[in-house]
Amino acid sequence: MSLVFQSLVLGVLMGGLYALLAAGLTLYFGVMRVVMIAHSAFLVLAAYLAWAFTVQTGLDPMLSLVVTVPLFFVLGVAVQRLLVARLRPATLTMMSVLLTFAVALAVEGTLGFVFTGTHRRIPLSYSGARLELFGASVALVKLIAFGLAVVTLVGLHVLLKVTRFGQALRATMQHREAARLLGVDTDRIAGFGFGLGLATAAVGGTALALDSTIYPSLHWHWIGPLMAIIVVGGLGSVAGAAIAALLLGVGQNLLQIPLGTTWAQTFFYAALFVTLILRPQGFFGGRLAQRF
């Protein structure tokens, strides 16, 4: 019983992290129908920057967010304006896979060149610290990562729902031509949308670095599950992706008990297949990118 509860707690924490890591992917797809293979490479880049920051300054890795979030926003706008915007609209989705695949390789190669292939982990005094919750252990670092996820996702939600920029962004997602007719500068908005997505990668990468060992090729292990999450959640829906991430995270952790790690890992892909067969538009997002 305690094992089931412990696994449930771990699953929720992991699901929260997954939701944060996948948030950017849904934005790129929602705004511009871009499949961003390089998202997880940027997560690892942010994780490396957090590691380098802590090793150089001795300060907490979370403080690196002050630099990385704006940096990644600008980087995102640049990637969109200089690279993605140049793809032909007719083949955008397919070509964006190739383009961002190349970006991912470039990021990985640069990381390997600058930081070497050595596996790194941020030395944290509280890496093993934990809280007791009804007999289950909750690791402090996982709780912080979960907190970062909640703050970021709620912030994103509010930004999209309440602000004028959010309205313009949603309008751009829903109908680009109509948005333009209403005076929305859709090119600029698309750039900002991309920047916003990459800014979530800065937060996600830092959250990831708190509790994992990082190395340049780590991103290949992440992109598959993250893609599965946004498809199951409904492409383009931040809330849908968050729900899917939680369900898949909990499901994987619980299945681990009877099935073992190898089979539990296939759960993501099984969910992906089932989604594509039964409900290709995703379970929680409704029609493709129609609402948030």
Partner: protein
């Protein structure tokens, strides 16, 4: 007949001579034209991808060895020259790399890559061309079951035997303090799993109950749920058949669940200099099998440690040592055979010599059975007072085994 024709015939004759010389090349180095250039050694290593960490260690070891040999008059009086390709930790790639090295680059000798998964396909290619294949890191049972007669593992023991000294020490404990239950977590990798299975078999036979036996795919990065299972079992002993990041992540996850075993042993990771940086002070008491210690007093080891430390500023670890050992073994074979060239005859001579002889290396004297298994066991190291100390076997002991281990 004009001059041009004469030239042509002359050129033809010269070409034929060269061809003949090429075919029957590989006479001993002192014997003239064929053996004057450098000895070219081909290697493929996982410099990127999953095994990039140990792969680079092996690369440093090979390069240090080559430099050392060249400083000291070369091999058979010739300089050695390494050609190192990157196989990206990919088993298809590694076979193609050796194919290229032997076939189109025409190297004289080959050295092995890192890790069982890459060694087997690479050794296959080497065997097809009749090449001697000495390798620094393929220790799993599978390597030696393929019927390779050209393969030699340049380390003291195969994976299954890595924990032998630890098993003996546990079984020799008095009944009252001896652990009663054990949890095993092993990567689905022939080497990593082999180490854990070797210990599991011995402990299980002696009545130490296996309460968790998890196998996880190599791409696993989240160890929360595996750690939950182990913590829930409250096993006295935790054994990890691990590489690097998996061990680090598993240890942190176990600490987060406040699981405190009496004994914790992990393969590979604790021998890595990055390990204490990642784990911090909580390394205390962690055990690991190791094929190498810089303090060992084998004659060539001191020279190796001095040379390597001068070059790199730090003492070598196991990966560098195994690479250096590979160099020593191949050099011994080439010296004994009096040749270092790709001809079947020369390669066969070297293979036959290694089957019948012992080689002194930085990890001690090595000799092999007919399948290339080295006939030794690994040392057991433990973090004692923040330092790596050899604790088993008794004759190599630098510090006493700490049991039960302090809380992490």
């Amino acid at each position: 007949m004009d001059i041009a024709n004469g030239l042509r015939i002359g050129a033809l004759g010269a070409a034929a001579l060269l061809l003949v010389a090429g075919c029957f090349g590989g006479r001993p180095a002192e014997g003239g034209a064929a053996g004057d250039g450098p000895i070219r050694i081909g290697v493929s290593l996982p410099l990127t991808g999953d095994f990039s960490e140990p792969g680079k260690g092996v690369q440093r070891g090979y390069e240090a060895w080559a430099k050392y040999v060249n400083h000291n008059g070369g091999l058979l009086g010739r300089q050695v020259e390494l050609t190192i390709l990157d196989d990206q930790s990919n088993a298809d790639r590694v076979a193609a790399d050796y194919e290229k090295l032997i076939n189109s680059d025409g190297v004289d000798l080959v050295f092995g890559p890192f890790s069982t998964r890459l060694v087997i396909p690479a050794a296959q290619v080497a065997r097809d061309y009749g090449f001697l294949f000495v390798e620094p890191a393929g220790a799993a049972a599978e390597v030696f079951n393929q019927g390779f007669d050209n393969l030699f593992y340049a380390a003291p023991a195969v994976a299954q035997d890595h924990y032998n000294h630890l098993a003996d020490a546990i079984l020799a404990m008095p009944e009252a303090t001896r652990p009663k239950t054990a949890a095993y977590a092993a990567m689905d990798d022939p080497f990593a799993q082999g180490t854990a299975n070797g210990l599991k078999e011995k402990l299980a036979k002696a009545g130490i109950q296996t309460v968790v036996d998890e196998v996880y795919p190599p791409n696993t990065t989240d160890f929360g749920s595996i750690a939950a299972k182990i913590a829930d079992s409250r096993a006295d002993v935790v054994v990890g058949g691990t590489q690097y990041q998996d061990a680090v992540n598993l240890i942190v996850a176990l600490r987060q669940l406040n699981y405190q075993p009496k004994l914790a042993a992990f393969s590979t990771a604790p021998t890595n200099p990055e390990f204490p940086k990642a784990i911090g002070a909580q390394t205390e008491g962690i055990l690991s099998p190791t094929g190498y210690t810089p303090e060992a007093d084998y004659p060539s080891n001191k020279e190796f440690v001095d040379f390597y430390t001068r070059e790199h500023g730090t003492a070598p670890t196991e990966d560098e040592a195994n690479a250096w050992t590979t160099g020593q073994v191949v050099a011994a074979a080439a010296t004994a055979a009096g040749c270092a060239d790709p001809s079947q005859e020369c390669q066969r001579k070297m293979i036959d010599w290694l089957h019948g002889n012992e080689v002194d290396t930085v990890v001690g004297p090595l000799k092999w059975d007919e399948a290339g298994r080295p006939q030794g066991a690994h040392l057991i190291q433990q973090y004692v007072g923040g330092k790596i100390r050899i604790v088993l076997p008794a004759e190599a002991e630098e510090a006493e085994l700490v049991y039960p281990k302090p809380a992490w």
